[in-house]
């Protein structure tokens, strides 16, 4: 049993912290908010490539750093702490990861080195209207048409969908709308005929998109894995991204608590430091408790991912349920303890509050994961 992170993880985190200090700030976020649709910068992205972060989990043969998922999570914790908006989860953990996990040798050679060098941005489009958070709900259809497939349908809340060069789209090649079988994954170019990418405003001021597919033609070579059998691959990759998101959320929680403690230690009311009021002390303690339990769950999920344990799906749901609850809860307390100032865009704390809400929802909210946990661990007879 070993749930500690190593010196190598800490070194990676140190360099991430230095990078964020130099290249990023909350004022940069305030600027990016006003720049639709990207909400991040390709320049910073290229610099991240130079640090080998974009190929972090890819094999050396594709110019990757060949590190395991625990390093991705270590890195993401720092991104969460510093609120770095660059599309690391969507490109590296979703899009690229699908190719790494299920792609052909040729696809790997074609895509992974480009991702690692920062030249290619990718994402996954799987949510649909009426399907809530279920990846198996897939009405978008792909019809065989000679050697090719013609895809029509609509996907919503595609993470970093504006600006992605390639979008992996789940589409139904057989079966009923919510069957697990019959889903196929297609790589679609952003400039494909019939594809319309519409930017969507998200609460945290980041980048999402709705995409409409109107008879978009895709060749067989752009299928990841096998026809009809994309579901498991997709779920496994979403789980890895979820674990990564959880690590980001932990970083956000830590920053939230730090900011709050600093505020309580500085501000004076009624002749005393705010932080000396017992009711506020106890709320701060609750924040720590929420945070530490979430951290434990995420570390465990991370370790079970790295170990490819049978528990990993369940562990990811535990981690996401805990993080979804703890992050939004802690930021709510923080806003309250900051008082009126916390309710302004001048305070940094608001970024965490809004990010917490979006992160709570991304890849499924508490109820979705409680439900998934039950289905796995306490199946109905």
């Amino acid at each position: 049993m070993d749930l500690e992170i190593t010196r190598e993880h800490l070194m990676l985190q140190d360099s991430a912290r230095d990078f964020i200090k130099k290249e990023h700030s909350f004022d940069r976020l305030r600027e990016l908010k006003k720049e639709p649709p990207l909400k991040y910068s390709r320049k910073v992205w290229k610099k991240m490539a130079k640090l080998d972060w974009l190929g972090l989990i890819y094999p050396e043969e594709y110019n990757g750093a060949q590190m395991d998922l625990s390093y991705a999570m270590a890195l993401l914790e720092e991104f969460g702490r510093g609120m770095l908006p660059e599309p690391w989860i969507s490109t590296v953990l979703l899009g690229g990861n699908l190719i790494l996990s299920g792609g052909s040798k040729e696809q790997k050679k074609n895509f992974l080195p480009k991702i690692a060098s920062g030249k290619l941005l990718m994402t996954l489009a799987y949510l649909e209207d009426g399907g809530r958070y279920d990846p198996n709900f897939c009405a978008a259809g792909a019809k065989k048409s000679g050697e090719n497939f013609s895809i029509s349908g609509k996907k919503i809340f595609v993470l970093d969908g504006s600006g992605a060069d390639k979008i992996v789209v789940s589409a139904r090649t057989s079966g009923a709308v919510d069957d697990r079988e019959g889903i196929t994954l297609f790589i679609i170019d952003k400039n494909a005929d019939g594809l319309k990418i519409r930017p969507v405003k998200t609460m945290d001021g980041r980048n999402a998109a709705s995409i409409d597919l109107n008879e978009v033609m895709v060749s067989e070579g752009d299928i990841i894995g096998e026809v009809d059998h994309g579901y498991n691959l997709m779920c496994d990759v979403i789980d890895q991204a979820t674990a990564g998101l959880c690590a980001e959320m932990i970083g956000g929680m830590k920053a939230t608590l730090n900011l709050t403690v600093r505020h309580l230690s500085d501000r004076i009311q009624f002749g005393k430091h705010l932080g000396s009021f017992q009711a506020l002390q106890h709320k701060s303690a609750d924040m720590l408790i929420n945070q530490e339990l979430a951290i434990s769950a995420v570390y465990y999920a991370m370790a079970s991912m790295v170990e490819k344990s049978d528990e990993r799906v369940s562990a990811v749901s535990i981690a996401k349920a805990k993080c979804s609850h703890a992050y939004i809860e802690n930021t709510k307390i923080a806003i309250q303890l900051f008082g009126a100032f916390g309710f302004t865009n001048e305070a940094d704390i608001g970024f965490f509050f809004k990010r917490a809400k979006v992160a709570e929802i991304l890849f499924g909210d508490c109820d979705y994961h409680y439900d998934r946990y039950l289905t796995l661990n306490r199946p109905l007879s």
Partner: protein, 394 residues
């Protein structure tokens, strides 16, 4: 004991309900029922319409332009008003809810005649100048000073979180006129024309990306002596009375029930694994808890109303209404976002997607402020403990 309305009350309710049904447009409801505030232009129009009807200030005498409703009518009106999706007037909380009754109690006849009718007609908008950088929850710590110089006070200092200062024409404010005694002494209550030279107004952006409040800077601003309300150095008592008014006004019973009905309507339309979400047992259980809590909250309002009718005044025990109401509203808003599933990430409206979402996410963010303004929940609980339960202070 009786829970039903009398015939006359029923008639009054039906009259109010009908008028609101006919006059609150879908355009308005789209904005208000999601928890958001109304566009300025729509608001000005609405205020005019309501003023013509004579319903801007239900509890104020007709001679001032109010409705002169009885307490029961006032309650019925407020409840129907909120449930209808009619917008909360910009002047409601501050000008009608607080300053008008305050002027009627402490103001001179001249002040009343000069300010009240224009306040009700909406011609003159008011802002409230209370908080300062070092006087938030600890309001008595305020330091903006007013020094008498001939017939004028000279005001210097800074106010923050002044709602609508960029929109209002006048402001009422607390100033320090004496620093020798206890903090609570030496505070005075002034009415200030915001066009006075020396005033700088800087809007502050809230988490909603709107600018609902400002910082206001005073640099040797001259305020005529006749704009003092009550006696000099006795402004703290006035402020305390005003806080009571604020608490009762900050009791969003109709709003919270209307908000929950929106949640239900959305849950009816949203599909969850082949059925409306409203039929999901887990969702239903969450709904039942809020439903029951909203009802108990409504009955509490009935109880206080019964008390008012029988002539007893609501004392500090109403303090729990502000805290509980705000927290209940937040819980309803939490569920309203949860209902939406992935759409809960969206910022403001996503009507284009045919999703039954009004401006829920903005309303959700806005709801966080309810436990902060007008005495934070922590302050309310301390008031309950020390003033209602009389727990020792040390």
């Amino acid at each position: 004991m009786q829970i039903s309305y009398s015939k006359n009350e029923e008639k009054f309710r039906d009259k109010v309900r009908l008028w609101l049904k006919e006059n609150v447009s879908d355009e308005i409801k789209d904005q208000t029922l999601g928890g958001s505030s109304l566009d300025t232009e729509l608001m000005v129009k609405w205020h005019k319409k309501l003023y013509q009807k004579g319903w801007v200030a239900p509890e104020i005498d007709k001679k001032w332009g109010g409705s002169g409703f009885s307490q029961t009518e006032n309650f019925i009106f407020g409840y129907e008003y909120a449930r209808s999706g009619a917008p909360r007037l910009k002047t409601k909380l501050i000008a009608i809810g607080m300053l008008t009754p305050l002027l009627l109690q402490f103001g001179t006849k001249e002040q009343q005649e000069r300010f009240i009718p224009d306040m009700i007609s909406g011609e003159i908008q008011w802002a409230q100048g209370y908080s300062e950088p070092d006087a938030g929850s600890d309001l008595a710590n305020l330091s903006t000073e007013a020094v008498l110089d001939g017939d004028d006070f000279i005001v210097n200092g800074q106010k923050i979180w002044t709602s609508m200062a960029d929109y209002a024409h006048w402001m009422f404010m607390l100033v320090r006129t004496d620093t020798s005694g206890k903090k609570q002494q030496g505070i005075s209550f002034l009415l200030v024309d915001l066009k006075s030279p020396g005033i700088t107004i800087r809007p502050t952006e809230a988490l909603t990306d709107h600018e609902p409040f400002c910082e206001v800077f005073f640099d040797n601003v001259r305020v005529p002596k006749e704009n003092l309300v009550g006696k000099i150095n006795e402004g703290w008592n006035i402020a305390k009375v005003l806080l009571e008014h604020e608490r009762l006004n900050a009791f969003p019973v109709g709003e919270v029930i209307a908000a929950l009905e929106i949640v239900v309507k959305n849950a009816e339309k949203i599909n969850f694994r082949g059925k409306p979400l409203l039929e999901d047992p887990v969702f239903r259980r969450k709904l039942a808890v809020l439903d029951v809590d909203c009802k108990a909250f409504l009955y509490t309002f009935f109880r206080i109303l019964s008390k008012l009718q029988s002539g007893s005044a609501p004392g500090p025990e109403t303090s729990f209404l502000k805290a509980y109401g705000a927290e209940l509203y937040q819980r309803v808003m939490d569920l309203s976002i949860e209902v939406m599933g992935p759409y809960g990430q969206s910022w403001y409206n996503l009507k284009e997607y045919g999703n039954p979402v009004h401006q829920a996410t903005m309303g959700w963010v806005n709801a966080r402020s309810l436990t902060i303004w007008g005495g934070a929940s922590e302050i309310q609980r301390t008031i309950i403990a020390t003033q209602v339960l009389k727990l020792p202070r040390k």
